[in-house]
C-alpha cells in the first residue's frame, strides 16, 4: 500500500524519552521532514543543549553538538562560521534561550548569524521538574512561583515575547511563531521551518521559529487538557504568525543589512 503519511528518514524510528503528549516529538518530526525534503541529512548539524532537548541527539540521524546551558547560539555560531554551507539548527527551550542564554541569543541574532534557531516555548522548565520560566504566564503555577507568577508583589517579572524582543535587532531577518496544538497550526509551523531553513541555505540570517508547545507533565494536565490550556492561555498572549520577515525574495540575490 502507498504510504500517505510516514516516518521521516532523518528521524530514528525509536521510542523517545519525551513524556506522553509532549510537543518536542512533533517538532522533531517537522524538522526531520524539512531536512529530508531539502536533501540535507548528511549536511545538517543540530546543537542540543540542557533541557528536555538534551535527548534530541538520540533521535535525529545527523551530526549533533551538545553545548553548555544557554551557550547554544554561541556554539552554533562557531559551527556555522566554520561550516557555512551546512544547515545548522540551534534547538533551544525557554531556560536555555530566554534565561541563561539571553546574551548569546541577542548577540547571535544581532550579528545576523546564519543558523536557524528553533525555540520550543512551553512556558515552564520541563527537565528540572516544572520551575518558572521566563515565558511562564502571569498567574501560572510553577514550583518556584507556587502562588502563581506575580510580577507586582513578588518581583517575578513578566513573560518574555522572544520574537518581538529580537525583532528590533538589525541582524534579524525572519522571526516567526508557530504552535503544535492542532494539525492546522502544525502544518503552518512546518512552513515556517521550511522558510527559515531555505533562507539559511541561501545565505541569509538570522532566522528563528518559536514554537508554542504543551508540557502535560509539568502543567499537571492530561495531554488532552494541556492542548486546551495552550489554546486558551498561550496563544492569546503569544500571537502566532510571522513577527518579522525581511527576507530577500527568493528570486533576488541576498542583499545587505536593512
Amino acid at each position: 500500500m502507498e504510504i500517505l503519511y510516514g516516518h521521516p528518514k532523518s528521524l530514528k524510528p525509536i521510542q523517545t524519552k519525551y513524556c506522553p503528549g509532549c510537543g518536542h516529538g512533533v517538532i522533531h518530526r517537522l524538522i526531520a521532514e524539512v531536512v529530508d525534503e531539502m536533501g540535507l541529512q548528511t549536511k545538517s548539524i543540530i546543537t542540543n543543549p540542557v533541557g528536555c532537548s538534551i535527548w534530541a541527539e538520540l533521535y535525529f540521524d545527523f551530526d549533533s553538538v551538545q553545548p553548555a546551558h544557554g551557550r547554544t547560539p554561541a556554539a552554533a555560531t562557531g559551527i556555522k562560521r566554520v561550516l557555512p554551507d551546512h544547515l545548522v539548527i540551534c534547538y533551544q527551550g525557554d531556560g536555555d534561550l530566554a534565561a541563561i542564554g539571553t546574551a548569546e541569543i541577542i548577540h547571535a541574532a544581532n550579528r545576523g548569524e546564519k543558523f536557524t534557531t528553533i525555540f520550543v516555548n512551553n512556558a515552564i522548565y520541563g527537565m528540572t521538574g516544572g520551575q518558572m520560566a521566563p515565558t511562564t504566564l502571569v498567574g501560572q503555577y510553577a514550583t518556584t512561583s507556587p502562588k502563581g507568577r506575580d510580577p507586582v508583589n513578588a518581583g517575578q517579572g513578566y513573560p518574555i515575547k522572544v520574537c518581538e524582543l529580537l525583532s528590533s535587532l538589525g541582524g534579524t531577518r525572519y522571526l516567526a511563531r508557530g504552535s503544535v496544538d492542532n494539525p492546522v497550526n502544525i502544518k503552518k509551523t512546518k512552513k515556517m521551518i521550511r522558510t527559515a531553513f531555505e533562507a539559511q541555505m541561501r545565505g541569509e540570517g538570522f532566522t528563528l521559529v518559536e514554537i508554542l508547545s504543551q508540557c502535560p507533565t509539568n502543567w499537571k494536565l492530561s495531554p488532552h487538557d494541556s492542548i486546551d490550556w495552550l489554546q486558551q492561555n498561550m496563544i492569546p498572549y503569544y500571537p502566532l504568525g510571522e513577527i518579522k520577515n525581511t527576507l530577500t525574495p527568493a528570486d533576488q540575490p541576498v542583499g545587505a543589512a536593512k
Binding site: M1, I3, H7, V26, N182, I186, P223
Partner: protein, 71 residues
Amino acid sequence: MANKGKPVIDRERCKGCLLCVRACPTKVLDADSTPNSWGYYPSTPVAPEKCIACGNCFQVCPDVAITVYKL
C-alpha cells in the same frame, strides 16, 4: 464518506497520549483496553472504515507512531 485511508499505529511506540483521538474528525481512534509492555493504553482504530486519510492523527502524534496508508 468513502473509506480513503488506513491508519496503522505502532502499539509499542505509542504512549497513550490520545492526542490523535482528539484530532481525528471522524472518530476512527480510541484507547485500546489492553496496555502495551510499557503500561500505556495505546490508541487503536476502533472504526477504521471511517478513515478519510486526512492525516490529522499523523500530524499531532508526538511519537510518529502512526503511519497512514492510502486505500
